[in-house]
Every structure is written in structure tokens, then in C-alpha cells.
Symmetry: C2
Subunit: 296 residues, 2 copies
């Protein structure tokens, strides 16, 4: 994770954490090559030069993509706050002007993005947003899809607000948000869900509790839950529908474009995530979300 | 819920809470009639005599099934502890010798069963167990499938023990239990999952963390989690695989047979649950689980 605040971002160019993910760097670098060759995505590889150079050579692509040295990159299992402060290397800034894709630790990516990019105005805690394919030929925004395993009820109100702004950017008019729960009635669920229901009931666009079936039917535009339940839900949908879920999740609430790919992503899924990242960077997603958050 | 401890149970006969469930009594009574006519299940209807009589008449089945008066039944939205103490009516004992099926509030059913049937020796907190269809042509036992939305880490150790005993009754040799989590490594998950992992690591048959994909692949025989996450997981599997999930969940750890059907169960699903209940009652499931718990 190598981002710096306040730089002008280059639209459409994507930085890839070449060392992050269960199959890094081989599958990750192979995915970058595929995204570049097949789809013209402009990718910069961030990682250990020797390992990345070897991975490029292994797929016959020596010299094809620029490499930002790894010494500047915070290891995905490293404490991000300590690591980022200890390594203020200049070359880290190369990646700062780009959208970032990482298949490494979600928690570390979130913490590093928070520290280096900063929050959008009015955001207390950024959130990971994934798109769940609903049967009605459109997608439902899931927040938190796996950023923060433990959450306070108040955090879910912020997640809902960011999810609604994201849905608006995706051209949903007057989006509605539901609370993921085990029953439709108020008073259902665990302590977190009950408290969050009470808080959300005082907000606009709240459609009440929603069960998994309702989410998959597209009965709401946004579904809000804690990151543990959200990640179990996302992974269950993907597993039960067999191999969907190439799409990367977006980090909402930071002042820059950060995409989180599956830790177990293969080359094809990395390539797909890079294409999404290029689109998101070109569209300027974070600025648009920020503009909508400022309005409400 | 109408159960009394210490009575001799009639094998194969099933008591149905005719008033419990979103579509009660109409769909529930229709399901009972179907189970009786099509599959020979011996059902007793427990509920308000006027409403149940009318529901029987509506499907042309007046007088077909015996009715246990409703005055003796604890309302599904009523506080079960208070309700059960306030209504010690004699006729409640009719249902005591039978397996019970309820599509009403799971929490109330669990509390009432606990109070009236009592726990099996060595059990602190009974748990709801559902069967998840795994791709390997067999099923994985899910505990807790929705009994207690909030759980302490210690409770999950007990759930695992009961789930393993149930798997043994289902003829799995040397079953293994996984902890439902968002990653395979120790240290993943929310506070509950982390603490439960530590406790479970000291027990036999623990296979570590398991992600949704692994559960659906049948990589373990039992998967343990809290009742909120478990219920979201179960409902997501059912919704994503479109309309499976006729099966009822079993309450493990009480001294009697209690089956929990979906709140939204239709007549066909109620009929299916009644057939399972009859089989479970004939097999004497709770006694078998108790015998296996005593061994470990």
C-alpha cells in the first residue's frame, strides 16, 4: 500500500500491489500482464524488484510494465501505521497519483489508505463496498463487505450513508438501504443489529431489516451490516453461485481510488480487478462520492 | 410450545404448533393435512380450537386430525418463561409425549423447550442444528443455525460438541468441526471468532477456520458459529440456491425431539418438516445424541 495525499492523480493508470495476495507475486503479475495486453490497462507494479522482475520473466513479459521498488511498500501482514511512518521513501509517491489495487490483507490496506490518503469530509470510518448481483438484472451495494470485522452500531449509520452515495454514483435514483438481518420485524437479530436498527430508523432512505433472500431479489439498493457478517454473506453468495465474484470491492470514504481484490484471486480475477480500477479512476469515483456525501 | 418433562414419548407421533409461523394457522394446518394424507404422518394440532377447526374445514379436512386446545399453548411472541409458569394446564401434557414441530419464534421455542423438557446431561445451552447441502453429496451440520443471536465464545465449544454428536448419529465416522470465518488463518475474524478459535484449538476434532466455500464443498462435517451469523449463512445458501431448504432444523441438547420450521414455511414445507419430525421421533434422536455426549 503506497499512497500519498494531495498529489494530482493520473486518470486511468493503476498501481497494483504485486506482493499482496495468496498467489503473489506470480498470479498477481500474470493478471497485470493480461490486463495490459488484452485490455490496454496501464498498470504499474509495486513490489520487490527481484521478485517482480522474475514473475514478469516467467510469463515472457520482461520490461513490459514499470516497477515501483518494494522497499517502499508496506507489507500486507505488517502493522500499517508503524510501517508507513517508518518508510517515508520518495518513490512511494509514484503510486500516489494512481488508483491502487491490492489482493493483500484488507485490514492493512484500509489502515494504510486511511493514513496516506485521508478521509473524505464527514467520514469517520471508510468502508469496503462490494456489488452483489441481484436477480433483477442489477446489483446491490453491500457495506461493510469485509473491512472491519467488529463494528459499533453508530458505524453502520456511516456505512449506510456512504453506500447510498455510491449507489447514486452508480445512477440509482433515490436509493434505499436495508439492514441485513435474520427477520423482517424490528427487534430481530443480535445486539448490534437491534441497536443499528434503532439508529437507522432515524435516517432517510431506511427500508428496515432485510433478509438474504430480499437482498438477492434486489428489494433494496444498499444493504448494511458489520464487516464479519458482510464478508460471510458475500463469500456465501459467491460460493453458492459457483465462481462468480471476480469483481473487486471498492474502499469508500477515502480521498482516492482503492480497490480490494480477493486474497485468493487468480490471474484472471486480478486482470478483471485492474479493469474495474482503471474505470473507477477514470470516472473519479471518490470525488463523486465525496460530492454526494457533502450534499446530505 | 407444549412439552412436559418425564413422560413416555410416543414414537412417530408429532405435535404441530398450529398457531406458529407467518402463515399460521392456514398454511400450517394445510401442511399437516398433506403430511397425514400423502405420507401417513400421525399429527396432533396444538392451537386455538376455533381457528384450527376453521383451517381444517377450509381444506376439506374437518375432524381429520386431533386438536389440543390452544389455551395451553404459549404464544410465540409471548415471554416463554413467564407464559409457561402462568399456564400449567393439564392438556399441555398431551403434546409432551410427542415430537414437536414449530414454525413460530425460534427463541421462544428454544426457551420453552429448555424449561419444559430440560437439558441433556452436560449441556449448558441447547443449539439449533440445520443441515447444509454440501457438493460432495452429503450434508454439513450447521450449529448454531439461528437459536441464540448473541453468543459467548464458550458457548461455541458446546455447540461444536453437540454438532459432532449429531454428525455421529447421522453415521459420520470421526466427524470434524470447522469454525465459520472470513479467512483460513488463525487470528482472522471478529472478536467472537478469534476467542472461539483459541478455545476450540484445545478440543478434539477441530479442523480450524472454514470459509463459506469450504462448508459448501463439504470440507468439514460440522460448522460452528453464533446464531446470527449462522442464520444469515443458512438463509443465504437457501436463497442463492433458489428455494431449497424445506428441511426443518433440529434443537440439540434438550431431552426430547423439537424441530423448527421456517417462519415463512408454506404447506409443503410444513409437511416436509412433519415427515422429518416423525422420522426423528421414531429414531429417538435426542436419546442418541445424549448417549454420544456422555461418551466424550
Amino acid at each position: 500500500v503506497a499512497l500519498q495525499r494531495g498529489e494530482t492523480r493520473e486518470r486511468g493508470r493503476v498501481a497494483l500491489d504485486a506482493m499482496g495476495g495468496d498467489h503473489a507475486p506470480a498470479a498477481v503479475v500474470a493478471g497485470a500482464v493480461r490486463a495490459h495486453v488484452d485490455h490496454g490497462v496501464d498498470v504499474v507494479l509495486v513490489g520487490r524488484p527481484d521478485a517482480v522482475t522474475r514473475a514478469l520473466a516467467d510469463v515472457g513479459a520482461t520490461g513490459l510494465l514499470p516497477i515501483v521498488p518494494a522497499a517502499d511498500v508496506i507489507g500486507m501482514r505488517e502493522d500499517p501505521a508503524i510501517g508507513l511512518r517508518a518508510k517515508p521513501d520518495a518513490s512511494i509517491r509514484v503510486a500516489a497519483r494512481l488508483a491502487l489495487v491490492s489482493a493483500g490483507s484488507t485490514g492493512a490496506t484500509l489502515a494504510a489508505a486511511l493514513l496516506q490518503l485521508g478521509r473524505l469530509p464527514g467520514v469517520r470510518r471508510p468502508v469496503v463496498a462490494a456489488l452483489i448481483p441481484a436477480s433483477s438484472s442489477r446489483s446491490v451495494v453491500l457495506v461493510d463487505a469485509g473491512g472491519s470485522p467488529d463494528a459499533q452500531p453508530e458505524a453502520l449509520v456511516g456505512y449506510a450513508r456512504m453506500g447510498l452515495a455510491y449507489a447514486e454514483v452508480l445512477a440509482v435514483e433515490m436509493p434505499r438501504v436495508g439492514l441485513l438481518n435474520v427477520g423482517a420485524e424490528a427487534g430481530k437479530g443480535n445486539a448490534l443489529a437491534k441497536a443499528a436498527h434503532t439508529l437507522l430508523s432515524g435516517t432517510e432512505r431506511f427500508a428496515g431489516n432485510i433478509e438474504p433472500e430480499g437482498v438477492l431479489a434486489g428489494d433494496v439498493d444498499v444493504v448494511v451490516t458489520d464487516g464479519f457478517t458482510g464478508n460471510v454473506f458475500l463469500k456465501t453468495v459467491e460460493a453458492a453461485s459457483r465462481g462468480h465474484g471476480g469483481g473487486a470491492a471498492v474502499l469508500l470514504g477515502v480521498d482516492g481510488e482503492v480497490l480490494i481484490a480477493h486474497g485468493a484471486a487468480d490471474a484472471g480475477q486480478i486482470a478483471a480487478a485492474l479493469r474495474i480500477a482503471a474505470d473507477v479512476a477514470t470516472a473519479g469515483l471518490s470525488a463523486k462520492v465525496g460530492a454526494r456525501l457533502a450534499r446530505h
